[in-house]
């Protein structure tokens, strides 16, 4: 630690830190543009010039290392003169279009110009004009002339997003920020560049001209998408959400959010919103009052329960629902005498149920990821499924950690991957067994019989060697591994691998409440009444289904099975924010509020419960789902449904102080099946980032991005040759009793025998399970 004096204040700061860091500690504000605490130092805006005693010239605070005994003046005559001079230069080419600029009112340049700018410009020559560039559907660069070349966006791409999609071309007055020729900015974190831009050069395209910053009310919320639970500020104008920006939380999302969190708000104002309760009568949908709709549902469920038994009633909910909704749903079901409730819709292996010691979670706090030095990520489309967790792993890798991958696809993670084993889905267990065997050999530990019989491949040995050499190891299971038909075996092996190298073992949460669902008891093996899991409910069709925010053809592991079960049911009740495909088979549609219109709680993947309030009033006659479930509970005479607020429901179901005791990834003995896959093509399914939940599916701008393109059939070159199909042709893909025609794309990173077809998309919704054999033929 060294001592440094800033504006007469003595501060202690770390050796190697800069004057800017010390000033932050001292609470002294130094004006700046290019400096950002999460990005590297470039010192090119020169706005942070300060006077340092004994230095002949002003020095940039962001790039000057603090030295012991240094005396800095940030507001002395020399410093202010330098800062004013810089400001005048910056304003030479900056257009005077603040009145029409979306950044107006929240612009760093505008703010600092108030303090350091002159009243009038001395510059009378022509101003520089930069032609607008087209860089995609999310970021508008229509006014690139506003750019002050701070290069924050460039550095963000290189350092945080992992891919340099914007760069600065040319020099001096010709210098321009642009993307590479004819390419757009496609990073799943690109929206952060809008926040980073200190001027209005990069602005949000969907938000363009909708509001000025002073008209907006800012309300805190939590992301309902991936398992991270990013903290959001929802900006509201006239009871309508018009923008979403991050709220800084170093323990969760730092100061970033993914594009999914940022732009999904468009789905809230979608024309597909369901605004009135509806009942289908004689094949026609009619709008009714809430009382009538709820009576109808209550009577229907009561009659069915009396005639066919309560176990004929099943409830499915997405993990994007709030804790309160999930808790009340399972309470309602158990009150009716049915344990058929589940939120793990895309899971296919439920053999771990009952053997779990607690709710599966990340196994460590999110912030600890940065400190790990060895990763084994099993079955994860990391960047698309958990964009910000991927970013944290990227930062760790940058500091020297090794990332090891076991997966069926080899998408670019935009970080150096030390070792990877790209295998067909059916070989997952075998591959992990190989790694375990190799690791046990290194650590000289005895093996169980089923593991010792596998043959260790080169890749597995390398991964094992990498893990064995680490001091802080994390073994993480992604969405793909959790959806895998042998998920329990994969988890068991991963746990053993982590245990052998004294590492952490965790699950990357797929959705906002992937942990919360377990805590709420929205699983068939919790509570007093046990029942069927999500798959059994479909395999043995029930007479009535209660669907909470679920679109069965897109959200389920096996949409084919789901659809046939729904169509054969006597009564399907959809609690949904949207009019969706369910209108074909449902009997009642109840409009419930999405996350901005209800209060609730999400328990994120590290087990952190985050409650939020509604930001706007529910649209039309929509109501928060917890209220709907509460009234249903009352109408059905289920005791214990007298809640005045969502907080009361939360407090009954969740002891926030004791969550940690309920998180446990350990599971009992699991029998391993290490046989290698036979012949035939196997499906590999990802859930595309902008198809993952009901809200993003309706976010108009996100749906125009490359990530939301219609899915293709992907195979590697040699498989294509065998089938006699060329890349770009159409192919007929058949699974179960349905087939669809999709465009073929060659993807040589895929293992032999694997066919990659996205799930969760209308184009592939007719197909069956996310895993399993599939046939591809020329269409």
């Amino acid at each position: 630690m060294i001592n440094i004096e800033i504006d007469g204040k003595l501060v202690e700061t770390q050796r190697g830190s800069t004057v800017m860091d010390a000033a932050h500690k001292a609470g002294v504000y130094i004006p700046h543009f290019c400096y950002h605490k999460k990005l590297s130092i470039s010192a090119n805006c020169r706005m942070c010039l300060v006077e340092v005693e004994k230095a002949p010239k002003p020095l940039p605070a962001c790039a000057t290392p603090a030295a012991d005994g240094m005396k800095v003046h940030t507001h002395s005559e020399m410093a202010v003169k330098a800062q004013k001079g810089v400001m005048e230069f910056l304003l030479i080419n900056h257009p005077l279009d603040c009145p029409i600029c979306d950044q107006g009112g929240e612009c760093q340049l505008q703010d600092i110009a108030m303090g350091y700018g002159g009243g009038a410009s001395r510059y009378s020559e022509e101003k520089r004009v930069v032609n607008p560039k087209e860089i995609g559907e999310l970021i508008s660069t229509k006014e690139m002339s506003r750019c002050i070349q701070c290069t924050r966006c460039v550095r963000f791409g290189q350092e945080i997003a992992g891919i340099m999609e914007l760069g600065m071309a040319n020099r001096s007055e010709q210098a321009q920020i642009m993307s590479f020729v004819n390419s757009s900015v496609d990073s799943e974190l690109s929206g952060n560049m809008i926040d980073l831009c200190p001027v209005g050069a990069l602005t949000s395209k969907p938000f363009r001209y909708t509001a000025r910053s002073w008209e907006l009310s800012r309300r805190k919320s939590v992301s309902p998408h991936d398992g991270l639970g990013s903290n959001l500020a929802v900006h509201v104008k006239d009871n309508k959400v018009v923008r979403v920006v991050p709220v800084e939380n170093e323990a969760i999302n730092e100061c970033w959010i993914s594009d999914k969190d940022r732009f999904s708000y468009e789905g809230l104002n979608s024309a597909e919103r369901l605004t009135r309760p509806m009942i289908k009568q004689g094949g026609q949908w009619i709008e009714v009052e809430w009382a009538a709709a709820l009576e109808y549902v209550a009577n229907g469920l009561k009659q069915l329960g009396n005639s066919a038994g309560a176990e004929q009633i099943a409830a499915l909910a997405t993990a994007h629902s709030t804790f309160e909704e999930l808790y009340l749903l399972q309470k309602l079901m158990r009150g009716l005498g049915s344990g058929n409730v589940d939120f793990r819709l895309r899971q296919s292996d439920f053999s771990a149920d009952g053997k779990l010691s607690g709710a599966p979670w990340l196994g460590m706090p999110v912030a600890d990821i940065n400190a790990c030095d060895r990763f084994l990520v099993v079955g994860s489309f990391l960047r698309k499924d958990q964009p910000l967790l991927a970013q944290r792993i990227r930062q760790a890798v940058k500091l020297g950690a090794n990332a090891n991958i076991v997966h069926s696809a080899d998408d670019d993670l935009l970080m150096p991957v030390a070792n990877k084993a790209i295998v067909a889905p059916a070989d997952f267990v075998n591959t992990l067994a190989q790694i375990l065997k190799a690791l046990a050999t290194v650590k000289q530990v005895a093996l169980t019989a089923d593991v010792s019989q596998v043959e260790v491949s080169d890749a597995a040995a390398k991964i094992a060697a990498s893990l064995a050499s680490g001091s802080k190891v994390a073994v993480l299971l992604g969405n793909f591994a959790q959806q895998h038909p042998q998920a329990a075996q994969i988890a068991s092996l991963a746990e053993q691998i982590a245990a052998l190298c004294d590492g952490k073992f965790g699950f990357l949460g797929e959705a906002a409440n992937s942990v919360g669902g377990y805590l709420a008891g929205a699983v068939p093996f919790a509570g007093s009444v046990h029942g069927m899991n999500a798959q059994q409910m479909l395999e043995k069709p029930r007479k009535a289904y209660l669907l909470l925010n679920v679109e069965p053809e897109l959200d389920m592991h096996n949409p084919q099975l789901a659809m046939s079960a729904m169509k054969s049911a006597d009564m399907v009740v959809c609690l949904s924010a949207y009019k969706h495909h369910g209108m074909d088979y449902a009997d009642v549609m109840l409009p419930v509020a999405p996350f901005t219109e209800t209060s609730g709680t999400f328990v994120n993947t590290e087990g952190r419960a985050q409650s939020f309030k509604g930001a706007v009033k529910p649209l039309g006659d929509a109501r928060p789902a917890w209220k709907v479930l509460r009234v249903l509970g009352n109408l059905l005479d289920v005791p214990g449904f007298e809640f005045d607020s969502s907080e009361a429901a939360r407090d009954e179901g969740l002891n926030t102080a004791a969550i940690a005791d309920k998180l446990n990834n350990h599971m009992g003995e699991t029998k391993l099946d290490v046989t290698v896959a036979g012949s035939g093509l196997q499906r590999v399914s990802d859930v595309p980032i902008y198809s993952a939940d009901a809200l993003v599916r309706r976010a108009a701008s996100l749906q125009k991005t490359h990530d939301a393109a219609t899915p293709c059939v992907m195979l590697n070159g040699s498989e294509l040759q065998k089938l006699g199909i060329q890349s770009g042709d159409n192919a007929r893909v058949t699974q179960g009793d349905a087939s669809v025609v999709l465009t073929v794309q060659v993807n040589d990173q895929l293992p032999q025998g694997a066919v990659r077809i996205a799930a969760g998309h209308p184009a592939t919704a007719a197909l069956g399970a996310m895993f399993g054999t599939i046939t591809v033929e020329r269409a």
Binding site: C98, P99, I100, G104, K142, R208, Y209, T210, R212, W214, E215
Partner: protein, 162 residues
């Protein structure tokens, strides 16, 4: 002594005659009453009357929807909605001034970066039913179009003090 003086003053109607003398003087003095509406008082070029929206000489409306007038209006009399026009420029889709709320402070005019919203010399306007004084964008533009010559003259006269 004073009492006696007062008695005679009252008795001789001195105060009354003094008053009558003043009245008599004004009876023959030059009249200053303005015979409205035949006659009108002179107005400053800064007179703050009915609002108008101006256009550029090429017919393009000046307003760019920056909403500064809406933000500055102390009576919350202005309501603006903005959207991107087909040609990509920022334009208002709604610009309403509720003249029954307006206190004619002139802040809107002062805050406007493009001199789009102005207050004219017109003060003899009225409404016959509720809502007549709720001026919408076409109404404001019509006022501007009709009086542009006078408005421009007034702005020019004021420009040297700004």
């Amino acid at each position: 002594m004073e009492k006696i003086k007062d008695f005679f003053k009252t008795f001789l109607l001195v105060e009354l005659l003094r008053g009558m003398a003043l009245t008599g003087r004004y009876m023959f003095a030059r009249k200053i009453t303005v015979q409205f509406p035949e006659e009108k008082t002179p107005q400053s070029f800064r007179f703050r009357g009915l609002h108008a929206q101006r256009r550029y000489e090429n017919g393009e409306e000046r307003c760019i929807g920056c909403k500064l007038c809406e933000a500055v209006c102390p009576a919350l009399a202005i309501k603006i909605e903005v959207a991107e026009r087909e040609d990509g420029t920022r334009r208002t889709t709604q610009y309403d001034i509720d003249l029954t709320k307006c206190i004619f402070c002139g802040f809107c005019e002062e805050s406007c970066p493009v001199d789009a919203i102005v207050e004219t010399r017109i003060f003899e306007y009225h409404g016959e039913k509720r809502g007549d004084l709720y001026y919408t964008k076409p109404m404001l533009l019509a006022v501007g179009d009709k009086h542009e010559a006078q408005i421009a003259r007034d702005r020019a006269a004021d420009s040297k003090y700004r």
